[in-house]
Every structure is written in C-alpha cells, then in structure tokens.
C-alpha cells in the first residue's frame, strides 16, 4: 500500500517507539535473544514502511546534509570520548570506580576511528582513487 511522506513518518515513529519499548522490556527481563529478535522485526517493519513512500523524501541535498552531519558527529564523538576517557583513566587514584568507563570510552574512540579509516579507504577507492605514478 503506497503512503505519503507524512503517513510514512508517523508510521516509522510508531515502529521506532514500539521497537525500543519492546526491546527495552526484554532487556530488563534479561532475554538477549528476544531483544535481537524484536530489533530485527522492528528494522524490517521500518524498511517496509520506508519503501512504500511514493513521493521523493530524500535527494542529493539531504545526502550532502547527512554526510556533513555524520562527519561532524564522528569527529565530535571521537574527540570528546577520547578526552573524557583519558581523563577518567588519569583520575583512577581518586575515582577507581570510573576506570572501566574511561577504558570503554577510549577504546570506543579508537574503534570509531579505525572504522572511519577503513570506510574512508573503501569509499576513496570506490570513487576513483588511484595512486599517482611519480616519474
């Protein structure tokens, strides 16, 4: 059944809220398999709902906006988590309970930058990068 953009937006919001509520409930019940299952069902419903839209809702400008927002978000998160992570590790004598949070933040910053570098390399090659032959 085709939908207009507004109906699809409402439908997707309901799916997101419903999925988060159900997955959250299963997480509280400590049912990891059911959390995964509900997230998968939610993702399928979300994509079904999105594929039914008839009109144009995203174009090259939206893509450019998303690219810029994603880049700034990655940079901000990586810098902030690395800094806070190192500060928490450095403050281990005063607050030993925070050292795990510090390591988690510092490692997430590293993981994010590794993922970013790998994807950068992949898309760089995909969009025509070739090493220059120096003569």
């Amino acid at each position: 059944m085709p939908m207009d953009a507004k109906t699809s937006r409402i439908c997707r919001m309901v799916i997101i809220v419903g999925t988060v509520a159900i997955a959250g409930w299963f997480a509280v019940m400590a049912e990891a398999a059911l959390v995964l299952a509900s997230a998968a069902v939610g993702a399928v419903l979300y994509h079904l709902c999105r594929s039914r839209i008839k009109e144009v809702v995203a174009d090259e400008r939206d893509e450019r906006v998303s690219e810029r927002a994603a880049k700034v978000a990655v940079e901000a998160f990586a810098a902030a988590s690395a800094l806070v992570g190192v500060l928490l590790i450095a403050a281990r004598n005063e607050h030993p309970e925070l050292i795990n949070a510090g390591f988690a933040l510092a490692f997430s910053a590293c993981a994010l930058m590794i993922l970013y570098s790998a994807l950068y390399g992949y898309y760089n090659r995909r969009y025509g990068f070739e090493p220059c032959d120096e003569e």
């Binding site: 144009v56 809702v57 995203a58 174009d59 090259e60 400008r61 939206d62 450019r64 810029r68």
Partner: protein, 71 residues
C-alpha cells in the same frame, strides 16, 4: 555559483513543486538552489538544463567571489 532558475521557472510557468517533481528532488532542494544556498550536482544541473532546453551555463554562472555554500 549564481543561477537563473527562478527566471526559467517563470518562462516555463513551473512552480517549485512541479520542477522538483520533474527533477526527482524535494521542493526544499529547489528553494536552496534558487537562494544560492546549495550548489547542485552536475547530474542535477544537466537535468535542469535539459528540462529548460538550454545549455547549463545559461542557467548557472560561476562567480569566484560568491561564497561556497558548502563551506
């Protein structure tokens, strides 16, 4: 980059919505291009030129002094 999309829309009696539909983009994109807030891709610029039946440089004019909207 400056453009004459508004002028050509008036000549062809097209609303922003109608032009957006023909190009397969949102009306927001047409508004942003008309206000020089967004430079379209070459693909989109060529599509526009084809719709209006003119060369691309008759619609878009490169201006070195104009600020790059993506900056």
């Amino acid at each position: 980059m400056r453009n004459k999309i508004k002028v050509y829309r008036a000549i062809f009696d097209l609303t922003q919505e109608e032009l957006a539909k023909k190009l397969g983009v949102t009306r927001q994109t047409i508004i942003a291009i008309e206000k020089d807030k967004y430079n379209p891709s070459l693909d989109l610029a060529f599509k526009m030129a084809r719709i209006f039946g003119v060369k691309i440089e008759e619609i878009f004019e490169y201006d070195e002094l104009a600020p790059d909207p993506s900056e």
